[in-house]
Symmetry: C2
Subunit: 710 residues, 2 copies
């Protein structure tokens, strides 16, 4: 697929709408290409000019005597269908369409966009945009967006905002980050979509890490599939904006992108291996850390500090974000004690207590001892390193630089990441530049350094998880289930009745409580015989009554035949009072669920961006009030399901609280996997709701199951 | 009180332990004072030298012919009692003690510290430290910590970590912040404490805002009282580290400070008006914003952006932190439409859609229109401002600078804060420097700018709240309550029995359910007559049985005299089975609580740092598993109590969920205020637990009340 995107590495560029007006993109693009020494051919196109910036100007593409890889189209929206057709006729492989005024601007623009795309498809021209700030490829010196002082490097950027890309590039320039490979402003995604660019970046050898700034995804499911491929090879760092309703409306007035539920997006993206960052000011730092460092095998972090304040802040921040600080081994502590003064703290955090003031090389000696400890997965150094020449004595500068080289070498030697926070980071002192060049990320903020370490650990875990995933064969629909669905459809219903939903679930070997559908009082005795001498629940089965409790059509704790008869009559009466013409199939009789279960919900919906997604949460207030839910896209793996159980905030309740035993996780995971299969085998199920499920130490009870057909 | 701290503005300084060794503090301090042109007299003290750095060296303090305001003591711990005595004899007002090896280092150090403090008290010398990095006062050019390139300004710093102070100072130098007034490294607080320094800063005209880096407070209650005074006049920005157990242990190895529960500290500090920041990298930015800008009257923020990306991120971040984005008025939108191109978004966020590219002055025109809108309390500008000369054309630089001056003028004109985020912020371009000089804070990060606006709004509200507080007279203990306590004490008990706790609470007009203490089965009939024909709860009253349910000594839903007799017998039997020698006072009979109430907990404890604090939370899982609780120190005001109800995460439950009515907030607030009074009137109550309280639409029921005596 990504072969067709070779035009993003162009050897020749045409500027359609080339201009002599220095305020126009059609001038500035040529100027930039010349200034930055683009190695390929540049063809200005404008019928009214014969020469621009010393280059011959062609009246149209057809007049260009050579092949053209990429066209930058600077002309207004209305000209685009014709321009794209001309590109096609000339054999241009790809075009970047700057103009706005397409689908983001209303019905007329949408029509124009469709016409343009039709022309592109007809001639096999791929389109970037429209309504984009442009693109650049530093490795080709092809800068078609006009950002200045671009540094060549390994960060690829996909963005729905040109200003956000400019932010990242500028931040990189200021902070001395690793430089950029290719930027693509995705614009309206009229032809090429996020997922295709992502695959391109996955294959692009110049790109070591991908940053995506996303307001909304037109085809989230395709994006997830690409992400799952790319994240096995290189990290993808994504910031999703439009997380709140207010943000969404701001995003819509920007690019017209769909911005769905943030919870769904985050769950599905992380599942696919994507590193989702929640603060825009962390994007670049996290991306660089992920590109530079090996992920730690686990979450055990050591802190090395030349002062208590930073050590304490780092310890708090790491712990709050789920990392652990192992106590260093006796052997390590003895090694450190031999290096450091008596007042030093040796367990972790290690505080050198002035032991580096006169000789910062001691940092490297300590780091060696700490990294050799098998209980340590990564090292975070915090404090003043990099500024000893400023703080203490100029003579310490060269010693610091030597120390920096030694520290850098330890990453490969020990196979463990090292991160450094220094209050002198923005000064980019010589030793810090050396350290950075040796592969150690340098941060001013403790919190940002910690965020990077946490992201690195999470990426390592996610990469291992997705690498181990087997591509599951799409499950086939079974006949019983298909028959149930067809029967409901044939009655013109768009939902299954409860006993139908139960039959469908049973056909996928999902455990359900026994139940009997009774369609006349005469059958109650038989139901009782089947279910045994236990308290019963009875509820109406009717296509016309979805909210059975509200209709007074549910009766609980029924014991004995006479109570059953009374309940039956009461349910029918209430149902008809609720809706006089209700079509009553009968009454479903089932044993009361055991007491003491943990109330849970599992739901599946078809998300407009990401396709089928499963939600898990605890029942009642936890879902309705606290919104404590977690999402994953389907198909679900056993690891995904287990992660969902762990990820809700109130997860301790599943582990057993106030004397309750833990719920049966294995049974729940099995249920979730089967539900995933059901929903994939039956795309006709638009929504599925198991609410409540009662979880016990041994299994669960599905108290109610609903399915809506699409 | 703070008069005695005038020595922090010294006109003469003695350096005890002055040295010719350039690596020693006793040399470097003199060097710095000379280099930075300290205006007062400098007296090196060392019996072995006659001259240091050109200054005559005195053998001891007594030999100095002039008055000495401040002594910097650089000699080791063991010399300190004698040195402090010498200071006292010379009439030195205050001393900064650098040495470590005191209470942070064990029993011997603690003894030494006590001896030193005794000497200081005897002679009226005030001590900073020991175990401190030192202090500076830029307005006196008195730099006794050795940080270089200090800028004179309005930020005062109190810190338990010298490195954190150095971090803040360095960050200020790099980012062009407002400069510093005085820094004090509080060290071990052997004599002078956080609260006294805070009062000093409150009175210090040079200090516009106070930053405190706190690991633990020795006397939190005194700090709260000082904070309440100071926060009416100027903002106090505090970062509390040691928030997690791991962080606490890191903090302890640092300064030996107590680091208590973060929840208690945050609740109590915010109640006193303190701005508590949770990220160390936000401390300086928040402090500067609070010092520069007027707090907005409310939380309605307008965003002005030159690109959708930053606008969307800002809208998300503001909304997530409780701010609102009002839709701009018709009139404002018309004014903006007249200024901006047709594609601009006008409602809020305002996106100029290229309307500033050729003329950044348009920002000022838009800002004027937006700030004139009465629905707007504050303006956040995000995007590229400050970099138009870099991004678009050099000719735009002067226009931007002119715009910056206009924007600055609008803060006073409209009385509304303006905050700016620019991706060019770290470059400190001319226009951004102008803007900053005109009083508009400039940030690189959207999230940090938002944090500053939120803190500003919160400080405005807190300042108004504490300014309106009336100093409440300490409530007097009433006789009934005191008698109850004395009676329990006279029996050698350290807890009240339930009927005693009830009697005590009733004496403060707290509503309790009716109850009768029955001490023999013969009295049951009378109890029933008193309580009426309602289902009853019965529980044992015994000093020996605290966990009544565990002992099987609680019976519920008892109806009729025969059930009452059975229950009585069963309770006595279970109690004696639980503990054969249990001293049983009788059985408390009370009507069953109404169903459907919201379960809540109110507790009071005596915090080792902050004194009496009240906790509020929802019952059961919410407290035990989700730790969703909030704290305030006593005395409580009605506003404090209302804020506690609002601040728990599950506060929606109090408002009524799943068809339940809202709980009676007025009654709860009244209860909390009365409990506050009870605990203040009776310092002998060490702990009080109302658990559970059931809240209804009309009032509440206290189901169980426990009190532990100190």
């Amino acid at each position: 697929m990504s072969q067709s995107l070779d035009f993003l590495n162009p050897n020749s560029v045409a500027i359609i709408g080339a201009s002599k007006d220095p305020t126009k993109r059609g001038f500035r693009a040529i100027q930039t290409l010349l200034q930055e020494k683009f190695a390929g051919a540049i063809f200005p196109i404008n019928p009214k000019e014969s020469e621009i910036l010393g280059l011959p100007c062609h009246p149209d593409l057809a007049s260009v005597p050579q092949e053209i890889d990429l066209a930058l189209i600077c002309t207004p929206a209305r000209t685009l269908p014709a321009m794209v057709k001309a590109c096609g006729e000339k054999g241009v492989k790809g075009a970047v369409v700057l103009a706005g005024g397409f689908s983001e601007a209303g019905a007329e623009g949408t029509r124009l966009e469709q016409e343009m795309v039709a022309a592109a498809r007809q001639f096999g021209v791929r389109l970037v945009g429209p309504n984009t700030s442009g693109m650049f490829n530093t490795h080709k010196a092809c800068n078609l967006v006009g950002f200045s002082n671009l540094e060549v490097g390994g960060i690829g950027i996909l963005s729905q905002s040109g200003n956000m890309a400019l932010s990242l590039v500028t931040e990189g320039q200021i902070n001395g980050h690793m430089g950029f490979s290719t930027y693509i402003g995705v614009g309206n995604e009229a032809d090429l979509q996020f997922s295709e660019y992502l695959d391109y970046f996955g294959d692009d050898e110049q790109t070591k890490v991908v940053i995506a700034y996303v307001e909304g995804l037109k085809n989230g499911h395709a994006f997830l599939e690409s992400a799952r491929r790319v994240c096995r090879i290189k990290p993808v760092v994504l910031y999703k904006s439009g997380r709140t309703e207010v943000g969404q409306s701001a995003a819509k007035s920007h690019t017209g992108a769909l911005a769905g539920s943030y919870g769904v997006a985050r769950g599905a993206l992380q599942q696919a291996g994507v590193t989702v960052v929640s603060q825009s000011d962390q994007i670049l730092s996290v991306a660089e850390a992920l590109a530079l460092l090996p992920p730690p095998p686990s979450k055990r972090i050591a802190i090395l500090a030349d002062g208590g304040g930073h050590a304490t802040i780092a310890a708090d921040a790491l712990t709050e974000q789920g990392m652990t600080l192992p106590r260093l081994s006796q052997q390590t502590r003895e090694r450190l004690a031999a290096i450091l003064p008596p007042a030093a703290a040796l367990a972790n955090p290690v505080d050198v207590a002035g032991g580096t003031d006169a000789n910062p090389e001691v940092f490297a000696d300590c780091a060696e001892a700490i990294l050799a400890d098998p209980s340590v997965d990564a090292l975070l150094i915090v404090g003043l390193f990099g500024g000893y020449a400023i703080r203490f004595s100029e003579t310490l500068g060269p010693i610091e630089s030597h120390t920096a080289s030694r520290l850098g070498g330890m990453i490969e030697r020990f196979g463990k990441p090292i991160m450094l926070q220094s209050l002198y980071a923005p000064m980019r002192t010589e030793s810090l530049v050396t350290l950075r060049a040796a592969g150690v990320p340098v941060h001013e903020s403790v919190e940002r350094a910690v965020r990077c370490l946490v992201s690195l650990a999470e990426y390592g875990a996610a990469r291992a998880r997705i690498a181990a995933e087997q591509p599951a064969a799409a499950p086939a629909a079974n006949t019983t289930a298909s028959t149930v669905v067809s029967a409901a459809r044939s009655e013109g219903r768009n939902s299954l009745l409860e006993h139908e939903a139960q039959a469908l679930l049973k056909s996928y070997a999902i455990t359900l409580p026994p139940s009997v559908l009774v369609s006349s009082p005469a059958e109650l005795g038989q139901a009782r015989d089947q279910l045994g001498e236990v308290p019963l629940a009875m509820k109406v089965v009717s296509r016309d009554i979805l909210h059975k409790s509200d209709a007074g059509a549910v009766k609980l704790n029924i014991v004995g035949e006479s109570e059953m008869s009374q309940a039956y009559a009461a349910i029918v009466k209430s149902s008809l009072a609720y809706r006089a013409d209700a079509d009553i199939k009968g009454v479903l009789v089932t044993p009361m669920a055991r007491k003491g279960g943990v109330e849970m919900i599992i739901g599946v919906t078809r998300d407009p961006q990401f396709g089928p997604v499963m939600m898990f949460g605890l029942g009642g207030i936890f879902v309705e009030v606290l919104k404590d839910v977690v999402f994953r896209s389907l198909p679900l793996t056993a690891i995904d399901a287990a992660e969902m159980l762990d990820e809700i905030k109130a997860n301790a309740i599943l582990g057993g609280v106030r004397g309750a035993p833990p719920v049966d996780r294995k049974a729940l995971v099995d249920l979730m996997l089967r539900i995933s299969q059901v929903c994939l085998a039956h795309p006709e199920i638009a929504e599925l709701d198991l609410n409540p499920i009662l979880g016990y130490a041994d299994g669960y009870t599905l108290v109610d199951a609903r399915m809506i057909l699409g």
